[in-house]
Amino acid sequence: MKYLDEYRDEALAQALLDRIRRVQKRPWMLMEVCGGQTHSIVRYGVDDLLPKEIELVHGPGCPVCVTPLELIDKAHAIASRSDVIFCSFGDMLRVPGSESDLLTVRSRGADVRVVYSPLECLKIARSHPDRQVVFFAIGFETTAPANAMLVSRARQEGIDNISVLVSHVLVPPALEAILDSPVNRVQGFLGPGHVCAIMGYREYEAISARYKVPIVITGFEPSDLLEGVLMAVTQLEEGRAEVENQYARVVTRDGNGAAQGLVSSVFEVCERKWRGVGPIPQSGYRLREEFENFDAERRFEVGAIDTQEPPVCISGEVLRGIKKPHDCPAFGTDCTPAHPLGATMVSSEGACAAYYLYGRHHKATTKG
């Protein structure tokens, strides 16, 4: 397929791998920030092909995985109401809350619908004027413009049976939280290509300078990822730490001004809870005061739901980079992609799911 096949080309991948092997002298640990990058790395076996001295670790950038339990419980409470049509991106349907997931809520009679674009909610709201349409507005900076567009159009068109349950998070504060950790081992980042398509990469220049860490804004195709690794490793070997843009066919330094304007007209930055991480200051969006009528948490009075994440969760250790997925007692036994206990095992972008498949594959091949 045009514009895709050329980035999935074996000869190109091999050429990039050769260059990585020539440049790399010492072991390095790089983090791919986005869940989409993790998915691609596993799907194409990119990590399998890299020299084993280059370790790739999953970043925090899986929007499904970092949505806190509390928000998911709120979503379930709202979706269970008979007057509500609850709309969500597909991935969110299988993510477990305290008691169930949205698929189960739907099987009990709730009207839960998968949408591909938030704007579909406008049509649903217009054709069901007697019902409340609620959109689960999750994600990073990438999905924020479309979600902002939904709220802004709903107000413009006077559609008042729409509201949004907002759980938006931002990448730069999460990177700072990682770099601030005393046991951080990440030496360079493959930066979030699609986030930067919206936001540009000026914010990352400050982080790179402050922490002296290379950040290469990277795309999602296998050759993008290999080139991102090459650029990051080259910087590390040369002792440089700067922001470079591998994904120049999509990303500019300033990003998409129109989208940024739309987002900041609807949302404002606030503290957000991250699943398994806890609250990070200035790390997410909430609706601005003038849009509070569209806030589903207010409209359905679910503000009181305050779920604490269960103590069995190893997130504290994981946060400090001390534990890996297979250090979790449930990993691969009680918790598998077929029977997920946690979000990271559910979404195909989740670290545990990716890790599980990779680990199994590895065991299988060595046994054979």
């Binding site: 799907r43 076996g45 999905t143 398994g276 994981v318 077929a338 029977h339 095992m345 972008e349």
Partner: protein, 354 residues
Amino acid sequence: MGDEKRRILPGEACPSPILDHQQIVLGHGSGGKLTQDLVEELFLPNFTNHYLAQLDDQAVLDVNGSRLAFTTDSFVVTPIFFPGGDIGRLAINGTVNDLAMCGATPRFISVAFILEEGLAVADLVRVVESMRQAAQEAGVLLVTGDTKVVNRGKGDQVFITTTGLGILERPVKISADQARPGDRILLSGTIGDHGMAILSRREGLEFEGPIESDTAALHTLVAAMLDASEQIHCLRDATRGGVATVLNEIASRSQAGMEIDGRSIPVRESVKGACEILGLDPLYVANEGKLVAIVAAEASDAVLDRMRSHPLGSDACCIGEVVAAHSRRVLVKTEIGGTRVLDVMLGEPLPRIC
């Protein structure tokens, strides 16, 4: 390395609520892991017998020296009319294919309609006429049936169940547990057409090229393949759960591994594009006119040639090999030369966010 190589950092919590389903969810009907659980934990223990234990899409019955193939299937597709077909044609072809996948000649079909109050009679006429045509083309007789009507809102226009009977005239034993290391894995054509035709119609998505369902009766293709060689060990039409699910079922039932070359799998550009947009993997998308065949290595060229000269197999290709290593695991060589595991599908395929 492997396990040692990847570790996770912030955001990768593993919280704990358990999801034992107390209600049936849509995933139980997806053909993936949840369906398999239902079969293994509920149906098999209740109805255990050696025909059922074979776990194929049809049972092969010995009746007075004849070998009969017997199968049943329900069709609940929305929309009932879609590019390339409709629920009626699907209901005939689906059951014909289940019979064909053991090498049988499909002969007789029964049909049960569950109609929803309010269904337009014109729509039912269209569905039935389409079934008549499909049955004629497949050379099967519709010999008995039943009709029920349910209250408005208790059904979705029309549900159709077809049951089929066929005769096995060749001395072949084609079953999912017959794959052997060294066997070649053949695929009869492009994948994902049916699923993406339905999905794009259902979601109102439009793509540059129209995507049409591949619904087709495959028994003449199977007959041609068996004419070339009877060394065909397994046959499956790759319906729900797609080619990935079929390969995993065969690997698991035959206790063998598989190595697939992902680059060799034919996918139409329009289907590939639709899958990219929706974040789906064509290997998990449903087909209604494609089969996977596991064939002895020495016979594979002859079978493949014969497939390619049949109109329903013109894009047929060899996509990989059955191996003794990594039993029950299907490994795929990726476009860039890496390797990944092709796992069973968990439930409904859910589009990704980004």
